[in-house]
């Protein structure tokens, strides 16, 4: 049944809940999770995901190793904190100034080998991903993601995971609402439009997950242009 519903739902882009429908700011808050929700064929317009409980548990336990409230809070907090990593700005600065990237990375990143290599790998990923996204016409230049970075990817996943954690009882409804409000406010520091949010999500996934972004590009287009999509008539966050 679970497999059948998953296959059935995958053919329905833009899945909307007809009960407990959110509107206004709470809808905006929950829409931060829309890219991940659409990937999972989940509801876009409610706190409930509309997924089977077994699917939600599998997602939390197998992919995120979340088995308890404490682990849930740690993961959700980490997805917010990583947007404030100042070393990541150094990596972006280095990418933006190719003539001096060696000096920028060497002078400003932590010298400890593992830590340095972690950021060096992000730099190398940028070198591969940015030209690819330009070729796929997701962006026209690096400057388009210079400010938003991978914030959409981080906050977007955090918001959807929070909804899953609410359904499994790891978060109360109040904790979920607080978390979604917080992610919305923080995301606004990086993205000013919903389009920027979707681009940032695609970019973040590409940086951390590799190639084959065509599916995510299709999801973003669907969210921004489909008549049924709650994002269709929204421009600014």
């Amino acid at each position: 049944m679970s497999l059948f519903s998953k296959i059935f739902n995958s053919f329905k882009s833009i899945r909307l809940n007809t009960r407990n429908v959110l509107s206004g700011q709470p809808l905006n808050d929950v829409l931060i999770s829309s890219m991940y929700a659409e990937q999972q064929s989940a509801y876009l317009n409610s706190y409930e995901t509309g997924l089977n409980r077994s699917e939600v548990i599998k997602l939390l336990e197998q992919y995120w190793e979340i088995f308890s409230k404490e682990e849930a809070i740690t993961v959700l907090q980490d997805l917010c904190d990583r947007n404030h990593d100042k070393n990541m700005n150094i990596v972006y600065d280095a990418f933006d100034d190719q003539e001096n990237y060696v000096q920028i990375l060497k002078s400003n990143l932590p010298s400890e080998e593992n830590s340095f290599n972690y950021y060096l790998n992000v730099y190398r990923n940028l070198k591969g991903v940015v030209p690819e996204l330009i070729e796929q016409q997701v962006i026209t230049s690096f400057s388009e993601i210079r400010n938003s970075k991978d914030s959409g990817w981080n906050y977007g996943r955090g918001a959807f995971l929070a909804r899953c954690c609410y359904e499994t009882g790891y978060l109360t409804e109040k904790e979920l609402k607080d978390y979604l409000e917080k992610t919305y406010q923080e995301l606004k520091e990086y993205c000013s439009t919903w389009k920027e949010y979707t681009i940032s999500y695609i970019f973040g996934r590409a940086i951390w997950g590799g190639s084959h972004n065509s599916g995510m590009i299709q999801i973003a287009n669907d969210l921004l242009t489909n008549e049924k999509s709650p994002l269709k008539n929204k421009t600014y966050l």
Partner: protein, 232 residues
């Protein structure tokens, strides 16, 4: 006595005379080339090569600086290793990302040093760009270099006298997240005589000298940038 019998004899004698004549011309033309004097024109030759015979490198580099350049090749051992990686189900993602591209070993390849980055270009059978791989400063700082001797073709069918025109190679080995990737750096640009110049030995040797002067400088420039690549 049938006069037709003399034709092969005449042809052999003519052939021998032609060989002697060409050898003499070759020696004369060679004696006119002072390689040490040619080396003083490195900068001018480099610009000339980039504007004429190797202008494609400027196009491939898309406006980035070209500090030095030469020909290169992918050793058979690296091609085999790449095949193993592919066959093994791509265990090493980083190596496979670079390595799976390096399956062609007979077509022209080029090295370009630009700032701290080493660019490796491979071409297809008609000389068009096939793959462009960039080894950044940190990969270069962790690389090693050793002398690999004269590059001999796989078949090994060449005259002993032609060996002086075969490139000598240095093998640079990169550490790609724990896996080693070896590539060859030639001490000269690959020279293929224009068919119209086949009998013009002087022109051929002058061109070869330029190709050598430009190519042989590459390792020196590379070592100046990355002292870890100096030979012990």
């Amino acid at each position: 006595m049938n006069i037709l019998f003399l034709i092969p004899v005449i042809l052999v004698i003519a052939g021998v005379c032609f060989m002697v004549f060409m050898n003499k011309k070759h020696k004369e033309a060679k004696s006119e080339i002072d390689l040490d004097a040619e080396r003083t024109h490195y900068e001018a030759y480099k610009v000339e090569m980039l504007n004429e015979d190797f202008s494609q490198l400027k196009q491939w580099m898309q406006g980035k600086a070209i500090d030095a350049f030469t020909s290169g090749s992918v050793p058979q051992s690296t091609t085999s290793k790449v095949q193993e990686v592919v066959t093994d189900g791509i265990k090493n993602v980083a190596l496979s990302a670079i390595g799976v591209k390096l399956q062609r070993i007979e077509t022209d390849c080029f090295w370009v040093l630009s700032g701290s980055d080493l660019h490796f270009f491979s071409t297809n059978s008609v000389g068009e760009l096939d793959e462009h791989i960039v080894f950044d400063n940190f990969r270069n700082e962790a690389a090693t270099l050793h002398y690999g001797g004269v590059l001999k073709s796989q078949l090994g069918l060449y005259a002993k006298s032609a060996e002086e025109y075969l490139p000598k190679v240095h093998v640079i080995t990169f550490d790609i997240d724990g896996s080693h990737l070896a590539l060859e750096i030639h001490d000269r640009l690959n020279y293929v005589p224009d068919p119209s110049d086949l009998l013009n030995l002087k022109k051929q040797l002058a061109a070869r000298a330029k190709y050598q002067v430009v190519g042989e400088k590459f390792v020196t420039v590379l070592q100046a940038k990355f002292p870890n690549l100096k030979l012990a």
